[in-house]
């Protein structure tokens, strides 16, 4: 195997990491857009954007700029954790709806 690439690395940042660009390997719009949305919901985030620099390279760049010199890594981690909670909430909602059983169902005929 070639050099193992790290999942996420810092491309550029200010000294205190309040403004930074991260490069995430093997991710795409699937994570990028949701992550950008969740970061933008954080009131401490001044700016967040992402891009897929080239379609044949499976990486995304995420730019985060924070207010008041707050840490962009903290914001990134909390955004990821919040997204995880959204997934859980959707899963719970789905299972709850399944239990309620108010939908057309397929019946197996023998």
């Amino acid at each position: 195997m070639a050099e193992a690439v790290e999942k996420i690395k810092l491309l550029k940042s200010s000294a205190d990491l309040s403004a930074a660009t991260y490069q995430i390997h093997d991710e795409s719009h699937t994570i990028g857009n949701s992550l950008r949305w969740m970061l933008m919901k954080n009131p401490k985030v001044e700016f967040c954007g992402y891009s897929v620099p080239h379609p044949s390279e499976n990486v995304i760049n995420v730019r985060i700029q924070m207010y008041d010199n707050a840490s962009s890594i903290d914001a990134l981690i909390s955004a990821l954790e919040e997204l995880d909670k959204v997934c859980e909430a959707v899963e719970d909602g789905y299972l709850a709806s399944l239990r309620e059983d108010k939908f057309e169902r397929w019946v197996e005929r023998t």
Partner: protein
């Protein structure tokens, strides 16, 4: 405007059949709904025929034609991510690995948000029939002004599978896959010594040696992401292709036997040297 976003996400299943599930996802952002759609279509591992060796072919179809069609056969893939080590794939690698034959995804059936522009000859309403999902929403008044702050809030999904996985499994695995992706990132970030970075008085562009070492050199930083199953699929070719040279198929009746590409690779993980020197990726 704010009120919608602060509510818990809702899911309402409208129909569940053998091969499809139809549900309405509410109180999430378009970005998240789209992530779920993408992950269900392209990131769920399934099993499919991936290598075919044809000894004689007396049919009218060429070999690769048959091999391709064999690959398209949906094989039951329940829990293949846990039960199997090599012969799985995801749709990013080849579309045959997608468990979904179709995922329909709709929001804003009245186009109140103007995310699309209808082509028409004389009259939009007459020429574009409303979707069934329009019954779920309130029709706009004719004189309703455009609300440029409005955001989509209800997403109508129909996940139709090809039979390799059940519709339930696809939704659950899709969410789990999304969570795995997030967990990998959190793991990557948390095992990266970010506190050192702040403490070490980093240079302005963030590329000083003090910062480079902990990020690139730390074993804890790189290894967890690579051992997990999901990241393994992303970049490299499927191990079954890379290492499973035709000789190991024919000469090794038991896959666990030593010596062949399959046998030695079994415990070594994705990029075992044995497999590469034996197979095509030398």
């Amino acid at each position: 405007m704010q009120s919608n976003e602060d509510l818990e996400p809702t899911v309402r299943i409208r129909e569940l059949k053998k091969d499809r599930v139809n549900f309405v996802l509410g109180n999430v952002d378009l970005a998240f709904a789209n992530s779920l759609r993408r992950v269900m279509m392209a990131d769920i591992p399934t099993v499919a025929i991936d290598m075919v060796e044809i000894e004689t072919n007396t049919t009218v179809l060429p070999d690769e034609f048959i091999a391709h069609r064999l690959g398209m056969i949906p094989l039951i893939s329940t829990n293949c991510d846990e039960a199997m080590r090599y012969t799985r794939g995801i749709a990013k690698e080849h579309a045959k690995f997608s468990p979904c034959s179709a995922v329909s995804f709709e929001y804003d059936p009245y186009n109140k948000l103007r995310h699309t522009t209808y082509w028409y000859e004389t009259d939009i309403k007459g020429e574009w029939p409303l979707s069934e999902n329009a019954k779920e929403e309130e029709a706009p008044r004719d004189d309703e002004p455009f609300d440029f702050n409005a955001k989509p809030n209800k997403f109508y999904f129909e996940v139709e599978t090809d039979g390799s996985l059940g519709p339930q499994e696809v939704v659950m695995k899709g969410l789990a896959e999304l969570q795995t992706k997030l967990a990998n990132l959190i793991l990557g970030l948390k095992s990266g010594p970010e506190h050192d970075m702040v403490a070490n008085d980093v240079t302005v562009n963030g590329h000083g040696p003090a910062i480079d070492n902990p990020w690139t050199g730390g074993a804890t930083w790189t290894s967890p992401a690579n051992t997990s199953a999901t990241t393994g699929w992303g970049g490299s070719t499927s191990p079954s292709r890379g290492g499973g040279a035709s000789s190991s198929w024919s000469s090794q009746p038991t896959p666990s036997g030593g010596g062949g590409g399959w046998g030695t690779g079994a415990n070594a993980g994705w990029g075992s040297p044995e497999r590469r020197s034996n197979g095509w990726n030398v």
